[in-house]
Amino acid sequence: MSLGYLISLLYQYLDNIAFLLLAALGLMIILGVVNVINLAHGELIMMGAYITTIAYNRAHLPLALCMILSTIGVGLFGMLLERFVIRRFYNDKLGALVATWGISLILSQGTLLVLGPSMESVSLPSWTFSYGGYSFGGYRLLLFVIAIVVVLIAGWTFYYTRLGVRTRATMQNADMARALGIDTRRIYLLTFGAGSALAGLTGALYAPTTTIVPLMGNQFVDVAFITVVIGGGTNPIVGALTSAALLSLISTPLSSALGTFIGRIGLLIAALVVIRFLPRGISGYLQDIRYRHMARVAS
């Protein structure tokens, strides 16, 4: 249990949180506001990675610009999806699930056919440093910082902007929001675009760290889905943060000791146990506690 080992564990913990947050936040925001599950989320992440890779390797643009292109590009694509597909499934969660799964197949198989089974990857900026016999990648620490910044921006938008207020109103009571003149369709469109943009950003950010293949979205979605299930759609920001922190707490020591497979099985079992007792996830449970506290205060 050397200090180096503990720091290495902490590094892995932060790295896992960043991964979960970036993979899941877009999905959770869409679930919380628009009330649909976008099963094409993995493919949107893949699109982000591909756009960055192509822009970097073919057009030789600076890496940061490529990532911005990914974010905007996938965000716009998401808005198209919302306009032409998602809109039909507002009150049909299972229908949206199946339809977006169809889109996910089209995107991944289409990419396979058009761009081939793999693509040359983007080189990882090599900012390594070592301590106590362990080496750490600076890039992945940067990802953690970016993840926190992204969550903060999302939270700030939710709670401190007029758009955020209108979005929260739509979340709580869409009919009432409409009656008060809020254009809920535009809220849904923008939210879906934002969630997709986040997916694109995630793909772009992780492109230098992994192989670029059409099915690369899969490695993100299984943890994203579990994070969403445990976090709950009641409050995407709080849900994403608490869920990522809790899940990384479970998976970091498990994968470190017993390998990634055990780590992922551990996450699935954790998800099953959590929803058995907290069916609306952590954010739903926190809301219940808040209401009970209000009840006690009122008496």
Partner: protein, 249 residues
């Protein structure tokens, strides 16, 4: 001022609610409520909107968990039982907004309703009489979503009766009915009660309440305000109406 009705220990107690409390967020819907119902009684629960009537029903049938208090049904503490377990013990509720299987026919609705208590499939006499009286036997193959509003209400009462309850909770059974339909329903409920079924009714329609009630309980801000016996011209009824009207205005 409390007007005492017939002694509450007459007969077996069908339902006893002790110190029941339930809040939603900052709103206390039911506030240390005590209520008893003897077997074979027909009781009306009235009170302005927001007085806690539907919440009380939800607590009795199990849709909500109370924050405090107990519910005893036929002497047994059912406070921690799931809704479906309470139905199996003989407690069934008809909801305020009709919840029937709209896509299924009347016959299919009744088929489902009659199965949960594992009773022998011999005729449920009370149910057959009810279906007949309410005119639903001629609508057997009609999808229940296509019935008129009142027929849907009646169908839902029949679904509750199909579970062979000992205590029937009716939440605003005459909502949206014409005066003639209201009178029919009132007579129907009286006849049900005469057959021995304990009935607790929440109602807004004072004509209905006047018609059927033997004893009336008035709810206000989650507490019992007044209770007592009623005759068509009783003081409690006038008292209740005037309290209600003053609160509503």
């Amino acid at each position: 001022m409390t007007i005492r009705g017939p002694a509450e220990t007459d007969g077996v107690l069908a339902l006893r609610v002790k110190d029941l409390t339930k809040s939603f967020g900052g709103i206390r819907a039911v506030d240390h409520l005590n209520l008893t119902l003897t077997q074979g009684e027909l009781r009306c629960l009235i009170g302005p909107n927001g007085a806690g009537k539907s919440t009380l029903f939800g607590l009795i049938s199990g849709l909500h968990r109370p924050d405090a208090g107990h519910i005893l049904f036929k002497g047994e503490d059912i406070t921690n039982l799931q809704p479906f377990q309470r139905v199996r013990k003989g407690l069934c509720q008809k909801f305020q907004t009709t919840r029937i299987y709209r896509a299924l026919t009347v016959a299919q609705n009744l088929l489902i309703a009659g199965g949960a208590r594992r009773l022998s499939r011999t005729k449920n006499g009370r149910l057959s009489w009810a279906i007949n009286t309410l005119g639903l036997d001629s609508e057997s193959e009609v999808p229940s979503g296509e019935l008129s509003h009142s027929q849907q209400q009646w169908l839902e009462i029949c679904l509750a009766l199909a579970t062979e309850p000992d205590l029937l909770l009716l939440d605003e059974p005459t909502a949206g009915m014409t005066p003639e339909e209201t009178e029919l329903t009132a007579q129907f409920v009286i006849n049900l009660n005469r057959q021995g079924l304990t009935v607790l009714v929440v109602e807004h329609d004072m004509a209905f309440v006047r018609y059927i009630a033997q004893r009336v309980t008035v709810l206000h801000y989650g507490r019992i305000l007044r209770r007592g016996a009623s005759t068509k011209s009783s003081r409690i009824m006038r008292c209740a109406v005037s309290i209600w009207e003053s609160v509503e205005s």
